[in-house]
């Protein structure tokens, strides 16, 4: 690393000052989240009495009250959210990788035109599609089931991931395909034995972001689900907010904290891949 950088020369004093500023900035960024987590462990009167992070008297009762706050245990909502997110991951990985393989490696008529159409669909806001999709799912009697939230992923509607995978497959050496062809592999076998294993990094990126975004996709969930026992975690949180109001912030914070656990766990486990995925592909996050 050269001594001259974007910001200037870095002496030891300057370095220390930068560190202090960066730490202060990071604390400001994380403070609200930490305050929520600590609030989950504080008794009600203490949450608003102090801005401090360490509870004076530590309690778990918020979690107990919150868990059963809607009559149905939050376990049900977590199960619903997990089911939807897991199915969305499987659907996206399968259907998007298939389409991507065709676009990147196979030749067929109107390939350029189809590819262009695929790119356009990435830009399309969901709002233009949601009313007719609602009518369609309503006619299929799919409203208030997990089907509208999962089946579309098996039909590669998240075209962004197709694009991401096409870019990735293009970077794989074609000689491997050719060698496999000489050995008698057809396109299906090449996909299964060569391309799919080699594109694992792209598949993992897809899986991570599909999981996180599906978990948090409040708009789709609120449109398609209205029965309490079908609620996902975000819907349950919102219902809990409405039903208990300002009175039970402790349980509210406890459940909000729990709802972030899967996403934060994903983040901590795949941190490197998530940050790389964003800086190299521009995935919104």
């Amino acid at each position: 690393m050269s001594t001259i950088s974007v910001v200037g020369r870095r002496g030891p004093v300057r370095g220390a000052v930068t560190h202090v500023l960066l730490i202060a900035g990071a604390l400001v960024m994380l403070y609200p989240l930490l305050w929520m987590v600590s609030g989950a462990f504080k008794p009600a009167d203490e949450i608003f009495a102090s801005a401090g992070l360490l509870p004076e008297s530590f309690t778990l009762s918020n979690f107990i009250d919150g868990w059963t706050g809607l009559g149905i245990g939050f376990g049900r909502f977590f199960l619903n959210s997990f089911t939807i997110s897991a199915l969305a991951v499987v659907g996206n990985v399968l259907s998007c990788s298939m389409a991507a393989y065709a676009f990147a490696r196979l030749s067929f008529r109107f390939k350029r035109a189809w590819f262009a159409i695929m790119l356009v669909t990435i830009m399309l806001p969901i709002h233009v599609l949601i009313v007719p999709q609602y009518v369609l799912f309503h006619n299929l009697k799919w409203i208030n089931t997990i089907l509208p939230l999962t089946i579309p992923h098996f039909l590669a509607v998240d075209a962004f991931f197709i694009f991401l995978m096409v870019q990735f497959i293009r970077g794989l050496p074609r000689e491997l395909d050719d060698a496999a062809r000489i050995d008698g592999c057809g396109p299906v076998q090449i996909y299964l034995r060569i391309v799919l294993p080699l594109m694992t990094p792209a598949l993992i990126t897809t899986a991570i972001f599909t999981f996180i975004w599906t978990w948090d996709n409040f708009f789709n969930q609120i449109v398609f689900i209205s029965d309490v026992e079908k609620f996902t975690v975000p819907l349950a949180l919102r219902a809990f907010l409405d039903s208990s109001g300002e009175s039970s912030w402790g349980p509210m914070f406890a459940m909000a904290t729990l709802s972030l656990v899967p996403v934060v766990t994903f983040f901590l486990v795949f941190q490197k891949r998530i940050t790389e995925g964003i800086s190299t592909t521009g995935l919104k996050g």
Partner: protein, 317 residues
């Protein structure tokens, strides 16, 4: 494999026909691989987009057949006060939160670039709000932080200021949502970080030799070199801001209040379509949104010619 089936043909002919056959199988297999996407395209994208265009010209409540209205829905925008609020609120949100988030992202990225002890931890801490900020949980937290006796007012009270009840005050509610967006500058920041690493260090070295100050180096080298990414982030953030929904919904309890001050466009669209079952009107709103986003994006691409510099152009000059 199929070569063994036609051993008598001359070599060249055999190879040509093999290639042709391969192309044909390829094509057939390709359509097989694309089948799920095709079905999705027809049933969930192309069909619905045409249907919503049609519905936007009708009065439709889901239960009875759509009634043709012509341009009435679009005409109704003119006299709909909520529509006007939604446009105003959303414009304010986009105009303020997008540039602020991008500027923060750029400044923090510049501060973070380079190898430094703990840079991974810094990057993670600044990015985490980006990942969580769109969730219901964090929006609920935000509502509490900016509540009448929330965290912000507690802190203000210590220095002797009685703060307003931010989220339930029409003058401040929108700004708390803008702040929530700006707080999530982490993902454009990561994109800038990747870009900063691509800038050749010798540019900075020769500028330093010429006596350029750190500020001058930032303005003359860093910013111009990053214009493609600044542009990319602005477009991406803008599209996302137009579509923002969860924060407004949660903060206002679904109402867009107080006094329509957080009635985001998508929230009003949701209310009309799925609470009031004015699905024709909601479809017209969706089309207006699509047109506006397309126009803005196209506009940004056109102006980008004057301020975005790509490396290869500079060589040509």
């Amino acid at each position: 494999m199929h070569d063994t089936l036609t051993p008598v043909r001359p070599e060249a002919e055999r190879r040509a026909s093999s290639r042709q056959k391969r192309r044909r199988t390829d094509s057939r297999v390709a359509y097989l691989f694309l089948l799920p996407w095709f079905i999705g395209l027809v049933v969930l994208t192309a069909g619905p987009i045409l249907a919503s265009l049609y519905l936007s010209f009708t009065d439709f409540d889901l239960l009875t057949a759509p009634r043709w209205l012509g341009f009435d829905n679009y005409q109704a925008f003119v006299d709909d006060p909520h529509f006007h609020s939604a446009i105003k609120v959303t414009s304010m949100y986009v105009i303020l939160s997008v540039p602020l988030a991008v500027v923060f992202a750029l400044l923090v990225a510049v501060a973070l670039v380079g190898k430094r002890r703990g840079s991974g931890v810094y990057r993670a801490s600044y990015y985490l709000p980006s990942l969580l900020g769109g969730s219901v949980a964090v929006t609920i937290l935000w509502r509490e932080i900016f509540g009448a006796d929330g965290l912000v007012n507690q802190v203000l009270e210590k220095v002797g200021i009685i703060g307003p009840s931010w989220v339930s005050s029409p003058d401040f509610a929108l700004y708390t949502l803008i702040l929530l967006h700006v707080w999530q500058f982490g993902s454009p920041m990561l994109i800038f970080l990747a870009g900063l690493k691509q800038i050749p260090q010798d540019l900075y070295e020769s500028a330093a030799v010429d006596g350029a100050s750190a500020f001058q180096r930032f303005v003359r080298i860093t910013v111009p070199m990053l214009t493609p990414l600044i542009f990319f982030n602005l477009v991406l953030q803008m599209i996302n801001s137009f579509k923002a929904f969860t924060p407004a919904f949660i903060i206002s309890g679904g109402s867009g209040g107080p006094v329509d001050s957080t009635l985001f466009y998508t929230l009003y669209l949701y209310q009309e379509g799925f609470a009031n079952f004015h699905m024709g009107y909601a479809s017209a709103m969706a089309w207006a949104l699509l047109i506006v986003i397309s126009l803005f994006t196209a506009g940004m691409f056109i102006t980008s010619r004057y301020w975005v510099f790509y490396g290869d152009e500079e060589g040509a000059k």
